[in-house]
Symmetry: C2
Subunit: 91 residues, 2 copies
């Protein structure tokens, strides 16, 4: 579990390359490379851009670490709902 | 990264044992077993209880999945700040 949290953090930091946030291009790459199996439309640039705008609470056109954590939270919640919604699903 | 998100979800679901939330005892166990290396005082029951109360936004005495995600977010933020605060730290 601790390594999972570390992975979430280092994935962001690796993509941000020393900056505090991800610009649009870095966010596209992160989503396509890291979340393609979990998110529909991860390969559709326009969909990822729209999602980015939805996350961008401070409207600076970039994805901060907190905005990124919001996305991770959404994905975790969605996965949890899928798992608890069908107990027969052993995946 | 996707497996990290899955680990976060399945850790909660495994501790909740079919329920929607963690009671005090389950939360203590989860923190001690899974987060002892990352959190100070994970082995101090009174400290974990205090943390649980801090997370318990709806004051039902239990830790919901969203409240648990809040904790994960805190830990991720703390780790990120430690990593970016000292760039010489390669851990």
């Amino acid at each position: 579990m601790e390594s999972a949290i570390k992975t979430v953090v280092t994935t962001f930091l690796g993509s941000a390359k020393g900056k505090d946030n991800l610009d649009g291009g870095s966010f596209q790459k992160l989503v396509k490379k890291q979340l393609g199996g979990m998110m529909e439309n991860a390969n559709v640039s326009s969909a990822v851009k729209e999602m980015q705008q939805g996350l961008d609470e401070n409207n600076d056109g970039k994805v901060s670490f907190q905005e990124y954590l919001t996305l991770i939270g959404y994905l975790a919640t969605s996965l949890s709902e899928r798992k608890t919604g069908s107990n027969a699903d052993a995946s």
